[in-house]
Symmetry: C2
Subunit: 231 residues, 2 copies
């Protein structure tokens, strides 16, 4: 166990992910060997929709947006990934293509794990497969919630929901401060950039939030929750 700790130099990467706890020391070393760490600057593409899925990526530091490239250059952000998270996609085990694009929003450090190594691991370690199944299903639940969010709520509800998501699941600051570009907020809520700006302005005028450039402070979380629920 001690040996395990010392043999890998990547403190955050594998040990912090519950999904890897079922691995034997040997298996752990196997993927630790196959691992390679890369740094990305804001705006850089980590993997791109349509390309072959050669690796699964673990976000170690920074912030990554994961989105679908849709019709006529419109993107739909599926989620923002904070450390320590696996980001991959449904191409795993199916067509082995990336069905999503991942782009760094902040200075980001990520570990790449060879997809074949991981595939073999699933064949060998049933607990790992079990955990992965569980993990994927959790994301499917989130997708279903997002379906309702995007198709059954008006713009106000969607923006409020997105702001709460950013606060609760991404930035998690006690000062209720989040940072997001207008276009990203629009891509997160499936609306035009101009619309997202306008809704934001309305919320500001009602003193529910305050805005300073890309930084937004959420003053009245209860109101946002209410707006989000109302639709």
């Amino acid at each position: 166990m001690d040996e395990k700790k010392t043999s890998k130099h990547c403190g955050a990467c594998l040990t912090k992910l519950p999904i890897f706890t079922s691995l034997t020391d040997e298996q752990f070393e196997l993927i630790n060997e196959a691992r390679c760490r890369v740094k990305f600057r804001p705006g850089e593409v980590i993997f791109k929709q349509g390309t072959a899925m050669t690796h699964i990526v673990i976000v170690n530091e920074g912030l990554v947006k994961i989105y679908i490239e849709g019709i006529s250059n419109r993107n739909l952000i599926i989620r923002l990934a904070r450390p320590v998270t696996i980001i991959g996609g449904p191409g795993f085990l199916t067509d082995f293509k990336n069905h999503l694009t991942a782009v760094a929003l902040e200075e980001t450090s990520a570990c790449f794990i060879d997809i074949n190594t991981l595939t073999n691991l699933i064949k060998v370690n049933k607990d790992f497969a079990f955990d992965l199944l569980k993990w994927i299903n959790e994301h499917v639940v989130e997708n279903y919630i997002k379906f309702v969010e995007l198709t059954q709520k008006g713009m106000h509800g969607r923006i409020a929901g997105a702001l709460l998501y950013l606060h609760e699941s991404v930035f998690m600051n006690s000062n209720n401060k989040i940072t997001i570009k207008r276009q990203d907020l629009a891509d997160l809520t499936a609306m035009s950039k101009e619309s997202s700006i306008r809704i934001l302005k309305e919320l500001k005028d009602e003193n529910i939030i305050s805005v300073d450039g890309n930084t937004i402070i959420l003053h009245k979380l209860e109101n946002l929750t209410q707006i989000s629920l109302r639709g």
Copy 2:
């Protein structure tokens, strides 16, 4: 093998599903024992969102709509399931609740397989877990496509897409005939019933389809494809 065939009376159920091919005879019998078959009339609920997920269901005959119950009685149909298909949901291995509702659209026969039996099977048979992972990921891909479909296309594109889906994946008739209620078409495309009616009427006026009650004949598939792509 022969023994396998005779020991189960449910010809369609387990043998026709590729996902069960990795089971040993013993495992096969185990879930075959735990299986129980039920008939449903049109409109009857097979499982209901929010309830405990006690079984996984296999559709043997008929047609089932699987949907999310959303906000203020609006539903979003995720897919229509024809035999022979497993229908379940992401509650499996997570919170063991149904996150979807399944309702029979036609006279339907379905097999219920105890969820614990299935969970154990995954722990025991790694190939099964592997196949299941693959199967789930395929559905996630479909979900992503649906995201784009619903959030980035106009009503015409969505209706055209839905009609093509019904033709290609549900009814699969050589005479291009499909059957669907207006409300279901609306729930499939995230729009109001009235809107779905109007778009349908436009398509009819352009002689792209013809409509007779709940039966729709798709005359010009190319046009529908074009409309679907255009958005």
